[in-house]
């Protein structure tokens, strides 16, 4: 079985993407290797996010050199803070850069992966738990609304320091989810952020709340599998990742 090489473009202070995605895809029945390129980022502020996006071209060059099969631009808020629909522009520019150099890598972003996953499970009313300061959280809400989703409930944990976001304990994330009124909600995004850890909470939250629970990581894994035309069948991380599981009675 051939090894699929996954290229990750991550903020330099991110430690969660490279933890959760290998954990998830390691259970997907194929062999993956992971290759990261990092963009300096400390605080999740509009100024630092803009400066970080300017480093994207270097990251794409580094991952192109590694001959990856797919690239995931793994900073959801960096894309969403640039304004509605920006994931399409960012994915296009990365794909153009790789394609011009002869690479055939598939290109995804966390923001695009999340909207794809929500669309594929036909969710329209979506609740969010985010680590961001409120102004950025409102931008994320507006971004998803511009993509056609309704966001009736959301919680922002107001952590600006990105290293601190990577250490937010799971019980705080679950407490934020429990504070939301999930009546009439089609799906919960429990960690609408690739840095706030939540992988261990997804299945537990889905069982507790009785609705599909996604995270930036599970949506990223889902979209990577779809892009690479591999079956989506990962146990214990929410119904999204069991999309292609054999139906059992």
């Amino acid at each position: 079985m051939s090894i699929r090489r996954i290229g990750l473009i991550v903020p330099s202070s991110n430690v969660t993407v490279e933890t959760e995605l290998p954990q998830l895809l390691g259970r997907a029945g194929n062999v993956f290797s992971f290759h990261s390129s990092r963009m300096r980022l400390h605080a999740v502020t509009p100024e630092e996010l803009r400066a970080m996006n300017a480093q994207r071209e270097r990251c794409v060059l580094e991952l192109g050199d590694a001959g990856v099969d797919a690239v995931l631009y793994a900073c959801l808020v960096a894309i969403m803070a640039m304004g509605p629909g920006h994931h399409r522009d960012a994915e296009f520019r990365i794909a153009e850069q790789l394609g011009t150099g002869g690479s055939e890598a598939k290109v995804l972003s966390s923001a695009g992966s999340l909207t794809r996953a929500l669309t594929d499970i036909r969710a329209s009313r979506v609740a969010l738990v985010m680590p961001y300061l409120e102004p950025l959280a409102r931008q994320v809400v507006a971004y998803l609304e511009a993509e056609g989703f309704v966001i009736p409930q959301w919680a922002a944990l107001e952590v600006a320091d990105n290293a601190a976001v990577g250490c937010i304990p799971g019980d705080r994330v679950m407490a934020a989810a429990r504070s939301l009124d999930l009546t009439g909600v089609d799906a919960l995004v429990l960690s609408c952020c690739v840095q706030m850890p939540s992988l261990d909470l997804i299945q537990q939250a889905e069982d507790e709340f009785g609705l599909p629970v996604l995270s930036a990581a599970t949506a990223g894994a889902y979209s990577l599998l779809r892009a690479l035309e591999l079956p989506v069948d990962i146990p214990g991380a929410g119904s999204l990742l069991r999309a292609d599981s054999p139906v059992t009675v």
Partner: protein, 217 residues
Amino acid sequence: MTDNLTPKPVHRVRGVDHAAFPTFDPNATVRFYRDVLKFPVVHSICAAGWGPEKHPDFIHFFFDIGGGDRLAFFYYFGWEPAGDQEAPGDAWARLPMDTPVFFKNSRHIALNVADEEDLLEYRKRLDESEWPVEMQVMHETIESIYTHDPNGYMLEITRQLRPVTPQEDLDAQLTIEALCDVAAGEHPSMDQLLNRKAELIVERATDWEQPQPKELV
């Protein structure tokens, strides 16, 4: 979507997306196109050779040449031009030393402007630069200025003095058909072409007796 009532025409292309050329002198190229001619830089891509062929890191950059069309360049880091740089030619290739000018200049790009004022504006911009106009010519149908860009590529800027008529289009079609016929044979010549064209005119004349659109009569 194409609706069945109005099928798409056979001829569907919409002009030049981009024409691309290598450069070894991005500074002069940017001065010439962006600063002298005032063509906006509209796009750039930084990439490396990730396909089956190894090649250097490169920048692919684009200038707006109007009408949504673009002139593009490749700059390859560390790549040196081949051949005798004193020989006639350009950044892409050098030709044998005795290559005549007409042949070298046969490969060029011509940009269109609306009127004499615009043509003279570009003449002024070039004449005030390191790349003055080398030649200005007026035929019956066009007026053009010519120079070579910093890479040795000949650039023509031209305006049409009158539209090409349908009769001229028809004449061109006959000429080119005759050309293809004689070029497929031994030792093609202008005489052969003109004879073949006369034959084609005789062959087709009966068809032209049929009612024609007004402008063709």
